[in-house]
Every structure is written in structure tokens, then in C-alpha cells.
């Protein structure tokens, strides 16, 4: 048995000061009415101006080296800043995917020219990315993607459909997982990552509206879209390994725990003022959140060392995303308020946002069923 294992991390010195700085900045932004805290705002809150203000302060691309426009502060400093942004319910969607996923992938697999073309703009909060993985017939079974790239002079012609593509209607580029060769000798072979310019001819972007009517997701239809050779990311045919290498980063971050934290803040505010009818129920959530944060932090410390704690990251996401939903029910048991998206009472509004977004928590970025399968496979593997 390969039991998952982690050690509680000791955060590097200096992060407390950084956290205070971010808190002061956010308090000023909220106080001036420039941003409004919302639940699940890393998915829902696209605010390019806010992202640029973060970029000016060096709070995007913190894990990029300075020669690519990053602050070089490192992965754990980035972790602290993103946690602060999420806890405050700040609108971070415009730079979220580029900062968390596309940027690090470019840093790891990209050519020098690709890095220079994209990373400084990402760090300034000016370039947004989308992820082109899922397809109409490929959800959890990602290796079954059918979007196909065929050889053309100087590059590739890409045809296929990507779905659930967050922010594609606002982003400049999409890193797409496509089939560039036959699925031989295994079905994971022949896949590659291409950087698709979303303004290129043949790219059609249609909204897939959430059940609230909000527009974050898209269907991206690619019809004979030309992608030059210099926009292949990493190694041709190595797409599967590259994509799965990103997963530990994608799965263990604070956004898998804190999506509904602004609701808890508002609820504690109310309960502190008016009394709490069931302290054990409230405390169970506070205790679990305290523990989940330490677990996420422990994975972050391993990632910062260059390890790939895939099983542990899957566990953080499984426990964390279920917690995000459980928090809603706890708040409903403690505070008598009807959810209302239009309410001037932040608690009623945050509750409404949380309830309506909750179904996505345990689906996006790998369903919890898939995650638990990953964990069980690691547990029962012959060793």
C-alpha cells in the first residue's frame, strides 16, 4: 500500500507581512466600492481592471522568475496571496487560470519565445488564458478527446469542439489538448498541447450559461484553425503527461476549500452580534476549515520542493470541495435567512450565490468520484 503522507508545513518567514499588505489593499478596494466580495468569485468574478491593479503590485505571476515579469517571490508567497484574495471573495477570474495553470505550464514546457510572449503580460494582469480540455463527449474520460490537429505548412490545422471553457469569450489564448497522432501504442499517446489564439479565424465562441444565467463557460468551436509550429506547447505527443503534471497544482489549492468562505465570514459576523444557537455546529466547520487549510498548505510545501503529491492533492480537493458545500448547510442551520441574489443584506446574497454555485464545486477540475478512484488506485497498488 502506498499510503498518502504529508507533514504539516512551517511557512517561510515574511509571509505574515505580505498577508497584511494584501489585507490592507483589499480593505481599501472594498471600502471604496471598487470590488464587492462574492462567493465563488474566482470562477464568477471577471474584473480585468482589478487584475491589473493586482499586477501593478506584483501579486500575479509571483511564481515566475523576474526575467519573465514575475516577482520571483515563489510558490508559497503566491499561495498566501491567493488565499487572501479568495478569503475576501475578490474577483480574480480574469487572471486566475493564467496565474495558476497556464503560466506555470509555459514556464515548465514553453519555449523561450513563448515565455517572453505571454508571461510578462500575465504578470501585469493583461493576458488571460482559457483551458481547452473537456469536450462534448469527453468529460471525466479526458484521454478520449477528439479535437484533431492535422499537419499544414508551418503548423497545424485544428478542428473540434471544447466545452466548459471558462472565460474563453474574454481571454486572449487557450491551451488546448488535441490529438496530433494516433492513440498508439496506448490511448494516452498522440495527444499534444497547443496554444490557440482565440482571435484566430475559425474560432467560434458560444456561451454555455450557468443555471443562474451567468456567462462564464463557453463552447469553443474550432474549424480548421491554423496554429503555427511555434505555438506547440512542450513536446508533440507528450500532452497527456504534461496535462496530468498540472493536476496537483490545480487540485490542492485554496480555491478548493475557500469558495464559500465569504459566506462563513458574513455568518460569523451575524452570529457574533446576535448570538449563536448551536456553537458545536459552527465550531465543527471552523475546526475542519482550520485543518483543511493546514492540509492544503502541506501539499503546497511539497509542490514548492518540486515533488508531485498527486494522491494528496486529490484528497485535498475531495475533502475541500465537499467542505465548501457542507459550510452552506451549516450556515442555513444557524442563520434564518432566505437566499436572495438581489438582497441588500450581504448574508442573504452570499447564501444565494453559494447555493446556486455549489453543484459545480465537486465537478470542476475532476469530479470527486474520479478523485477518489485516483486515491484508491494509489492505496491498493502493489508496492
Amino acid at each position: 500500500m502506498t499510503a498518502p503522507s504529508l507533514a504539516a508545513a512551517v511557512p517561510p518567514p515574511g509571509l505574515d507581512g505580505l498577508r497584511r499588505e494584501v489585507r490592507e489593499f483589499l480593505a481599501a478596494e472594498i471600502g471604496a466600492g471598487r470590488i464587492v466580495p462574492r462567493s465563488d468569485n474566482w470562477l464568477a468574478g471577471w474584473d480585468a481592471d482589478f487584475s491589473r491593479r493586482l499586477g501593478e503590485r506584483g501579486w500575479i505571476g509571483m511564481a515566475f522568475p523576474p526575467e519573465y515579469g514575475g516577482s520571483g517571490a515563489g510558490f508559497l508567497a503566491r499561495f498566501a496571496v491567493t488565499e487572501e484574495l479568495l478569503a475576501a471573495g475578490a474577483p480574480v477570474a480574469a487572471h486566475w487560470i493564467a496565474d495558476r495553470q497556464s503560466g506555470p505550464a509555459l514556464l515548465r514546457y514553453g519555449t523561450e519565445e513563448q515565455r517572453r510572449a505571454y508571461l510578462p503580460g500575465i504578470a501585469r494582469g493583461e493576458i488571460s488564458f482559457a483551458i481547452g480540455m473537456s469536450e462534448p463527449d469527453s468529460g471525466s474520460d479526458l484521454a478520449s478527446v477528439r479535437t484533431r490537429a492535422v499537419r499544414a505548412p508551418g503548423g497545424w490545422r485544428v478542428t473540434g469542439t471544447k466545452v466548459w471553457t471558462s472565460g474563453a469569450h474574454l481571454a486572449q489564448a487557450m491551451i488546448a489538448l488535441v490529438r496530433t497522432g494516433p492513440p498508439e501504442p496506448a490511448r494516452h499517446a498522440g495527444l499534444s498541447q497547443l496554444i490557440v489564439d482565440l482571435a484566430a479565424p475559425g474560432v467560434e465562441i458560444r456561451p454555455i450559461r450557468l443555471l443562474t444565467g451567468e456567462h462564464h463557460f463557453n463552447e469553443v468551436v474550432l474549424t480548421d484553425v491554423f496554429v503555427p509550429d511555434d505555438r506547440v506547447l512542450g513536446t508533440l505527443g507528450d500532452g497527456w503527461r504534461q496535462v496530468t503534471g498540472e493536476l496537483a497544482f490545480e487540485r490542492s489549492g485554496p480555491e478548493r476549500i475557500l469558495s464559500t468562505f465569504p459566506l462563513l465570514t458574513a455568518a460569523v459576523d451575524r452570529l457574533a452580534a446576535r448570538g449563536c444557537p448551536d456553537r458545536a455546529r459552527l465550531g465543527a466547520v471552523v475546526a475542519r476549515l482550520w485543518a483543511l487549510r493546514r492540509m492544503s498548505l502541506a501539499v503546497a510545501a511539497r509542490l514548492a520542493e518540486g515533488a508531485q503529491p498527486a494522491t494528496e492533492a486529490a484528497l485535498v480537493k475531495d475533502l475541500g470541495t465537499r467542505f465548501e458545500g457542507a459550510l452552506i448547510d451549516t450556515v442555513r442551520m444557524l442563520v434564518r435567512v432566505e437566499p436572495d441574489l438581489l438582497s441588500s443584506d450581504p448574508l442573504a446574497r452570499l447564501l444565494a450565490e453559494s447555493v446556486l454555485h455549489a453543484p459545480g464545486f465537486t465537478l470542476r477540475g475532476g469530479t470527486n468520484e474520479i478523485l477518489r478512484g485516483v486515491v484508491a488506485k494509489a492505496l491498493t497498488r502493489e508496492s
Binding site: L282, A287, W290, L319, T380
Partner: protein, 323 residues
């Protein structure tokens, strides 16, 4: 884990394996080996007879002892009695010790761990610490769900006991006890998971191992998650062993213990419910330890009190203190 702690936990594990006596409720041979290693007074300062270790190291040792369901009062000796005696400037005697809280002048103390086997008992009252050597009290045997001794103690002549001003308060005592139980639970959960994974791989039904069934895989993954969560929480709390961290670690570990024990039995089927199967050594302990030194309700209420005192704006700073 640093190299020293790693070497220490390896030695503790080796001693537990060598002197294993799973059905005994007191394992003197294992105790002697651990005492020889310095584990039984690990966090007690060297000038008071201890090993001068820290709480994070002690927590790692307790995890190993929990994993092996070791019938020895290391938590009571190292984290409670030894700590209180050293805190008074008293030398710490050798042999197993135990400790208890009393609201006022003590006379009868209930559910005192291993009181009958201990060389002495440390009693913490609101303003005094008393030391009662074994010949100063009588014991009526009691037990927790795992059969570990939880005895009723009658002091023969409380007025004759050696007294010191209390070196710590009742809350601190309970926090250390809770942290120790949480660490033991983390270890016991690791063992329950290990046994479950092994059984799920070996046992075949419908021509496939249990581990091939998605419903069973789900149980194993759930157990792994809860175990890891409790482990990291305990390790983190050991570095700041007061207030919200301890409350959160004990409440989380207690909740996890219930889940892990339930699923371990579900995976094992009827076999796990028998006297001869080793699963019971850890599951009965999980059921006992989750309620010792305060159960989930008590520590969750404590966590809530910290959160309510911090208020809405203070909640996030409270959660992120020191990490």
C-alpha cells in the same frame, strides 16, 4: 519530520513490534524498552530527568504508539505528569505515571488512566499540584471501550500528600491531553486504513477482490482523506499547542475517528467484528479516545468561541495565525 524524530519513531515502532502484546491492557516490557529510549519523558527537560524533546516530536512518537495500540501510559507520563512535575521544579520519578484534574480538594478521582499500574499520580487542582505515590491511593479497576485501564482512585490521606503551587491551569492540562489523544487517534486511523486496504486486496467476492468495487474504493479513499486530515492537524497543533489549533485538531481527529472506524468495519465485513481480528484493537481505541479529554462537541464549541470572539472580520486572521 527531521532526522532525529524519524530515527526516534523508527525505534518506537521497532519496540512496539518486538514487545507486541495486543490483548494486554498494560505492557510492562514495552514500557521498559520505551523508558530506556527516553520516550516516556520525551518532552520533559533534561535537567528534570527527561529527554528534552519538543511536542512535535512527542506527537510523532504517540502516532506510532497509537498505530500499534500500545498499552502504555506514555501520553499521561510524558505530556501530563512529567510536564507538571517538571513545571514545579520537582524531579520526575521513573516508571509509568498518570495524572488527573480535580475541581477542588481531591478525595475520589474517576477514570484515571492506568492508575493501578502507575508509580504515582499527579493531581492538578485549581491552585495546587499534588503528587501521590502509588502507596498513597487505592484503586478500583475500570476500563475504556478498548479495555485500557481507567480506574477510580481513592486517596488514603489527601492531607499528607506533597503539595506545590499549580504550575498550569486546567485548560492547559486538557489541551495537552486532547493533543495527545488526537495524536494517538491519527496513528490508530493509519492502522485501520492499512488493515482495510490489505483486506480489500486479499478478499475476493464475485471473482474480484473487494478493492475492484468502486463502492469499496470510495470507502478506502474516504478513510485515507480523514486520516491524512487528522494527521496534519495534529502535527500543526503540536507547534502551537493552545487555543484554536488544539480545539480544531481534537475536534477534527475525533470526527475522523468515527468515520474511519465505521468504514474500516464496513470494509472488513463480519470478520472485523470478531474478537480474534486485530481491527478491534484500533477501532475500540478510536471510539474511546475521541471522547477522552473532551469529545467533538466540547472542542467544536471551543473552536466556535474562538471564532465568535474574533467576529466576522477577525475570522480569517484567526484561521491563518502562524501559517
Amino acid at each position: 519530520m527531521d532526522d532525529v524524530t524519524e530515527a526516534l519513531t523508527a525505534s518506537v515502532a521497532a519496540a512496539c513490534a518486538r514487545y507486541a502484546d495486543p490483548d494486554a491492557n498494560w505492557n510492562p516490557r514495552l514500557w521498559d524498552a520505551l523508558e530506556e529510549m527516553g520516550v516516556t519523558l520525551l518532552p520533559v527537560p533534561e535537567e528534570r530527568g527527561g529527554a528534552g524533546g519538543d511536542l512535535p516530536a512527542a506527537v510523532e512518537a504517540l502516532r506510532v504508539l497509537g498505530r500499534h495500540a500500545a498499552a502504555v501510559p506514555v501520553a499521561e507520563t510524558a505530556l501530563l505528569a512529567g510536564w507538571l512535575l517538571a513545571g514545579c521544579g520537582a524531579d520526575v520519578p521513573s516508571g509509568p505515571l498518570t495524572a488527573a484534574l480535580a475541581d477542588g480538594p481531591p478525595d475520589v478521582l474517576r477514570r484515571v488512566p492506568w492508575a493501578g499500574h502507575a508509580a504515582g499520580l499527579v493531581i492538578l487542582t485549581p491552585d495546587e499540584m499534588l503528587y501521590a505515590p502509588r502507596d498513597a491511593y487505592d484503586v478500583e479497576d475500570g476500563a475504556n471501550l478498548a479495555g485500557e485501564p481507567r480506574d477510580t482512585v481513592r486517596l488514603r490521606d489527601p492531607g499528607a500528600l506533597r503539595r506545590h503551587p499549580a504550575p498550569a491551569g486546567a485548560q492547559e492540562f486538557r489541551e495537552r491531553g486532547a493533543l495527545a489523544r488526537a495524536a494517538l487517534m491519527a496513528g490508530a486511523m493509519e492502522r485501520a486504513l492499512e488493515l482495510s486496504v490489505r483486506y480489500a486486496r486479499e478478499r475476493e467476492q464475485f471473482g474480484r477482490p473487494l478493492a475492484a468495487f468502486q463502492a469499496v474504493q470510495d470507502h478506502l479513499a474516504e478513510m485515507a482523506g480523514e486520516t491524512l486530515l487528522a494527521t496534519v492537524a495534529v502535527q500543526a497543533a503540536a507547534r502551537r499547542p493552545a487555543g484554536l489549533p488544539v480545539a480544531a485538531a481534537k475536534a477534527s481527529a475525533g470526527a475522523a475517528a468515527g468515520t474511519v472506524a465505521r468504514l474500516a468495519h464496513q470494509v472488513h465485513g463480519a470478520l472485523g467484528c470478531t474478537d480474534e481480528h486485530p481491527l478491534r484493537h484500533v477501532t475500540t481505541r478510536l471510539w474511546a479516545w475521541r471522547d477522552e479529554f473532551g469529545g467533538e462537541a466540547e472542542w467544536a464549541e471551543s473552536a466556535a468561541d474562538h471564532a465568535l470572539a474574533a467576529g466576522g472580520p477577525g475570522l480569517w486572521p484567526l484561521l491563518t495565525r502562524d501559517a
